[in-house]
Symmetry: C2
Subunit: 394 residues, 2 copies
């Protein structure tokens, strides 16, 4: 059996990263992946400015608390200051440009203004209260690198450099489909022998959360031809095809036969729980990932195994998630497979959901993350374990 | 000065939670907040089904490995089985309904089929390989509660119960505006004295990530009337008005004067760094939050102080974020304010960005989270600290 890391490694080796990029408005760029480095075209801030409401002076002009310095100008944020006249002070506000000739800003609480002059009652250190030109960013500095997935603060940073648009990879197109004649859609009446389709909703939502363009093909009938038609369509439209169910070796599992016919398939036995059967291959030249059919297996293998591959295809430089250490509030024997346990955070550690069956999707809704139990590792109550909050995968 | 927790507590006490709800398609419900409990109308699975491809038998019918049991039916997933004829077995596939009369499924790898009969070479325990009716969810069980923010797996769970639509609170409408004559929009030419507006982009992206409807009003000129017009408009359209900048006591800070004129304002000194000046009040009866003007202060106070309030207004039951413990790879003296330090995760702990000035937005892009340093707490290299990954706030 493959280890989880070997499986991810093989997927990443076989990944063809998108190359097409597009310019998008900064306002629409959250969650998109940078196609080029962002290099600062200007200094930020572009000039020295005042960190306070107060008075800008030449430090050497101060002659003591009793000597008023005449005011020569008033500089509001956004206005253009003149050079500071010798022996004078300027009234200045937060964010306003510090005039040439001034070297220090005194906060207004330490000053007394009267009759067009200011007395400085408490002198700060020389050069105080000035935000220096280029303090945040210097011209020519690489501030964001290609492959970075843009977060709110990154948009703010790019805006501070004057970029109204930004170059990102186009969205990865991921086709999702399920198989199974037992599946009915929510809202339909359910008959004996049938169940409601849940994987479609989980998978589509996960893929959209990750910023992909989802081609949602629904469910193919359990018939070779129906599966073949849908998979051909998926391969024609998408960058990657993802299926749930139908990839074990059973005679009713048509996905495997169809992928063999249209391309190539490798059935992997990955030492992971939940989620053992996992397939990787290509359909008409389009990469193909076959997830297991059980709802929890779909959810977990999508997060742990498919996500790094899809992120890499999208051009993301960072495909992994850093586990954090939390205290286990439960014990569990060592296992031969890497086990992803559904847990919930409490103030004193993480609690295990009682039923870890791969059919019990409720465990994932009840919980807020996974404990990763390595092969052969015993979990002991009160000791730290690797915890992966679901939110870290978003 | 208020502590951060006191400030959040006061905000939550003064929160008016949305009551309007709407039905949305499950396909569009990611990130929305449930307005009602979701109660299971059916058992999941709705009937006993097979966990394997194999053979369904009555356990008592097994007479040893040499005695073949005749096959009486073939049950694929989605088909309706007949009652199992006495003394017979049924071929059955994963997910297919177990016929009445059968009590055990034998996996196909432990069977040998020939001439319309099956020999069972290895008998499992009685009742093996059957997913029991109601194993995941039982009719009448509350599976999701009002106030829950829906994630991918929750949509799958609701789908498994047959819900095509779900009742959620309408999106909270949040108006955002900034003030400052020095601000230019990205794409425009910058003149002396001016800087690019970054807060607008950071704030809008944060609010959208949280699922709110953003009313983006841009920048008001630093004039009483311009600020008043924009704030009246904001109050008329939004559930909450959020501003950045303009709430300190300076004579160029018009937001404070306008809010006093149109409603009421409390200026809070919160013992938080970055982000001391923070205002809360109402404008024409609409709640108002005034964030500081510095880019890092805006980003941090939005996450730490505004977010819990906005989440509560939206109807979210869970407004907080669980910190995780990570090892500090730096030391820092105790401070009189709760300090939110920009850090980056490494394999052996978290590293501090060198410049923690509230003007240096780059620290938030460089980092992947915040270390929360409590008032009076010293950070010592090699010891654990409270770490808040940015992703946990999404």
């Amino acid at each position: 059996m493959l280890s989880v890391n070997e499986a991810i490694g093989t997927l990443l080796e076989n990944c063809e990263q998108l190359v097409d990029s597009e310019q998008v408005s900064l306002m629409e760029a959250t969650g998109r992946t940078l196609a080029n480095d962002v290099v600062a075209p200007i200094d930020v801030p572009p000039a020295d400015n005042s960190a306070m409401d107060g008075y800008a002076i030449r430090y050497a002009d101060w002659k003591g608390t009793d000597t008023a310095i005449p005011l020569s100008q008033r500089i509001t944020a956004g206005s253009v200051p003149g050079k500071l006249a010798e022996g004078s002070a300027a009234r200045i506000f937060t964010g306003a440009e510090v005039p040439e000739g001034a070297d220090t800003v005194v906060m207004q609480e330490h000053c007394s203004e009267e009759a067009g002059a200011v007395r400085i009652l408490k002198l700060p250190v020389e050069r105080a209260n000035i935000r220096r030109r280029g303090q945040d960013l210097a011209t020519g500095q690489t501030v964001l690198t290609a492959g970075h997935r843009l977060r709110s603060q990154d948009l703010g940073l790019a805006a501070s450099l004057g970029f109204a648009e930004i170059s990102v990879y186009r969205r990865l197109k991921v086709a999702v489909m399920s198989t199974g004649d037992e599946l009915r859609e929510p809202g339909e009446a359910i008959q004996p022998g049938q169940i409601y389709n849940s994987n479609r909703y989980t998978m589509k939502s996960q893929l959209e959360t990750w910023g992909f363009e989802v081609i949602d093909l629904g469910v193919a009938r359990d018939e070779h031809e129906a599966v073949r038609d849908m998979m051909s369509q998926a391969a024609g439209e998408a960058d990657v095809v993802v299926t749930s169910g139908g990839v074990s070796v059973g005679e009713e599992d048509h996905v495997k036969a169809v992928v063999e016919e249209l391309g190539a398939i490798n059935l992997w036995k990955i030492a992971v729980k939940p989620g053992k059967p996992f397939a990787f291959g290509q359909v008409c030249g389009t990469p193909f990932i076959g997830l297991p059919g059980n709802p929890v297996s779909v959810f977990v293998t999508m997060l742990v195994i498919a996500r790094p591959y899809l992120f890499a295809c999208q051009g993301n430089a960072d495909t992994g998630v850093h586990a954090v250490r939390q205290i286990a509030r439960f014990s569990k024997k060592a296992s031969q497979r890497e086990d992803y346990l559904r847990v919930r955070s409490l103030d004193d550690g993480v609690q295990l959901f009682t039923n870890q069956s791969s059919g019990v999707l409720y465990s994932t809704s009840w919980g807020d993350g996974l404990v990763r139990q390595a092969v052969g590792e015993e979990v002991r109550e009160g000791e730290p374990v690797d915890f992966l909050p679901f939110a870290l995968f978003n």
